[in-house]
């Protein structure tokens, strides 16, 4: 498998929620590419559409949400022999959400780890039963074999005494252990893509570091791609190779992780980076009273459709007559670095010239 092999592609995805008082455009034209064995980080404030993008990928958008437009393509690799393998192209958006084909992908090809390890498992069934369920669903194994595999996978997520943990109930585990068990459940069928939706947000910082290390180790071991969703740029820096920054249902900037931190181009990305506390600043603040920068304003009302760029009411580089008039197109400023901002379009150049 080459490093640049495309595993999944999201094109022009629109996922809307139809509520009584209007339509929430949770995902409003997202393009993403997930490469096999690599990690794509998705970052943004809560409510920007990152989780819904992930759920759309699995066709698990809760009602009244609906994928309105766009294509999601999954390239399934079928190993015929050690050497030869062919690729099956699956149009996920063409499958019915509850169809057999779609369910064969879920938990098997693509699986997901969620934010709340406390809520991810049914409290009244054992950890083992819930892992075995997925194994028996996707693989032709009997109960005893499934149990063996469950114990094996629990060991691989570095849980102590996996043969005992398999019979415990979720509430008997600590938060970190539970998240390991949830990851084990997600990995139980060797998925090619793991979607991790803020898997460490609910954990304390030490546990978070352990889980991140574990996920990186497992990624190498299982050779899987990870779509890592977070609001924490620090975690992105640690985990991702590619990063997409989302704001109000749109990807506003996309590039590799180094470029993003070295040369952020979208004013929103720049603002996000400025709002991370820096050790230097903290030391400096001890003497002078310097406040941590925040992004001015609030995320607008989700029902509203803003003319122009959706970030313009909060943008420090807002250009009257441009940003509030015309929606910016995606511009490739450097090879592999795209941004959705008028600062980089020819139109703005003209305005600035005037």
């Amino acid at each position: 498998m080459s490093a640049d092999q495309v595993l999944a592609e999201i094109k022009n995805l629109h996922t809307y929620f139809y509520l009584a008082e209007g339509v929430v455009r949770a995902v409003d034209g997202v393009d993403l590419t997930i490469k096999a064995g690599r990690t794509l980080g998705i970052v943004g404030e809560s409510g920007c559409g990152k989780s819904i993008t992930a759920l759309s990928l699995m066709q698990l958008v809760p009602p009244p949400g609906k994928i309105e437009e766009g294509e999601i393509t999954y390239y399934q690799t079928v190993h015929k022999t050690e050497a030869a393998s062919t690729s099956n192209v699956i149009e996920i958006t063409k499958l019915k959400p509850n169809s057999r084909e779609m369910r064969a992908i879920r938990g098997n090809q693509i699986s997901m780890v969620f934010q709340e390890p406390m809520a991810a498992m049914l409290p009244v069934r054992t950890v083992g039963a819930q892992i075995m369920e997925a194994i028996m669903l996707h693989q032709q194994v009997n109960k005893a074999e499934a149990r063996e595999r469950a114990i094996d996978i629990l060991a691989r997520v570095k849980l102590p005494n996996p043969d005992r943990i398999v019979d415990t109930y979720p509430f008997q585990l600590s938060g970190g252990m539970r998240q390991r068990a949830v990851i084990a459940m997600a990995l139980s069928c060797n998925p090619n893509l793991l979607i991790a939706d803020e898997p460490t947000t609910a954990l304390d910082v030490t546990t978070e570091a352990q889980i991140l290390d574990l996920m990186r180790a497992l990624q190498a071991e299982f050779n899987m791609a990870i779509m890592y969703i977070t609001h924490n740029l620090g975690v992105i820096a640690e985990m991702a190779q590619e990063v997409a920054v989302m704001y109000m249902g749109k990807v506003v900037e996309q590039t590799d992780v180094v470029s993003l931190f070295r040369n952020p181009q979208h004013p929103y990305t720049q603002a996000l980076l400025r709002s991370i506390p820096q050790l230097d600043d903290v030391m400096a603040r001890a003497g002078k009273k310097k406040r941590l920068e925040t992004i001015r304003g609030m995320i607008p009302d989700p029902y509203s459709i803003l003319p122009g760029c959706s970030f313009h009411p909060r943008c420090p580089q807002f250009m009257q007559g441009v940003c509030d008039q015309l929606a910016p197109e995606v511009v490739e400023t450097e090879p592999g670095h795209t941004v959705r901002c008028h600062l980089y379009t020819s139109r703005s150049a003209k305005t600035r010239a005037n």
Partner: protein, 333 residues
């Protein structure tokens, strides 16, 4: 687990004590003393009561002693001799009246519950899954009306329709000819023929409430993350619903199976009276119309005690089905 059960039993003791005191107060409520009324009643029916017999009655009921001693006499008779007093309406000991009717009461209540669950639980799950659908609105409306229509109203209307449209006289548990006969296959079949209507009516009484509980519990559970996790595993929607949220939502309803016991005695009392069944409720009614208070006291005591016992059993059952309680760690989750 054992210590949990023991703890629950110890907690129930003062409760039972209070219930028994209340039941005793109810017996003493009507003005005039029981013995005088008993003697009056005997005389009215043509029996002459001698002074000695009257004294014996007074001693038997402890009327010559202070109230607290009378209570102790009453409660110790119940505990040691299972003697709840004498019902002059039925001219039998109260315990016998109630025991005779236990079988029918239990059978009808059990089947009525089964009917309620088989109807209400699937509907409750379905409308929760299809929240805001047309079916949901219709079922919600029907349950609203169902909660406003007591079972005995429904019984009256059904009996009316059965009588005028089909010429069937419903009510009772047996046809005239089998009433006093000993048990036979024919009598059994006759009983079944009469039992389905009270079972359905009693069961229907619980349907609306159970649907609403089930729907509300399901809606709570459906919002939980483990449902999405289960879907993300690739389970079919049916399996997701049945194995995950329904598994939890059904718990409180199933643990309610224990409430069957007290429900036996109070759930459908009025319906049973309307349908003229040979169950315990109508016996209480017949006794009460004559201010036959020992029967009433026994009834309250038995029902209260059954409720207390059921509460313990129900908690134990819940602990068995919910490991969170079993292992005593009800943290977070």
């Amino acid at each position: 687990m054992l210590s949990y059960i023991i703890q629950r039993i110890i907690r129930a003791i003062p409760q039972l004590l209070l219930i028994s005191i209340l039941a005793f107060i109810i017996i003493q409520l009507p003005p005039g003393d029981i013995v005088t009324r008993q003697i009056e009643r005997l005389q009215a029916s043509g029996v002459t009561v001698s002074e000695a017999q009257a004294q014996a009655l007074i001693r038997q009921y402890g009327m010559d002693r202070p109230m607290y001693q009378r209570y102790l006499l009453w409660i110790s008779n119940i505990i040691t001799k299972f003697d709840f007093g004498y019902s002059y309406t039925f001219e039998k000991p109260v315990a016998q009246v109630i025991l005779e009717r236990m079988g029918y009461t239990f059978a009808i209540a059990l089947f009525a519950h089964i009917f309620t669950w088989t109807v209400a639980i699937p509907i409750g799950i379905y409308v929760a899954v299809k929240q805001y659908s047309l079916a949901d609105y219709i079922v919600t409306l029907i349950t609203f009306i169902g909660l406003a229509v007591p079972a005995f109203f429904l019984a009256m209307i059904i009996m009316y329709v059965a009588l005028t449209k089909f010429g069937i006289r419903t009510g009772g548990l047996f046809s005239q000819e089998y009433m006093v006969q000993p048990w036979s296959w024919g009598k059994f079949v006759d009983l079944l023929k009469h039992m389905w209507l009270p079972i359905i009516l009693l069961g229907t009484g619980g349907v609306a409430g159970t649907i609403r509980t089930m729907r509300a519990m399901m809606l709570d559970e459906l919002r939980k993350q483990y449902v999405t996790v289960a879907r993300a595993k690739g389970l079919s929607e049916f399996k997701v619903i049945v194995r995950y949220p329904a598994r939890l939502a059904i718990n409180p309803i199933l643990s309610g199976v224990m409430w069957l016991l007290p429900w036996l005695f109070s759930g459908g009392i009025i319906l049973e009276i309307v349908l003229n069944l040979q169950t315990a409720g109508p016996a209480l009614y017949a006794a009460l119309r004559n201010q036959d208070m020992y029967m009433a006291g026994a009834y309250i005591l038995i029902t209260g005690a059954l409720t207390a016992i059921s509460a313990i059993l129900s908690d134990v059952l819940l602990a068995v089905s919910d490991p969170r309680i079993r292992f005593g760690g009800v943290e977070g989750a």
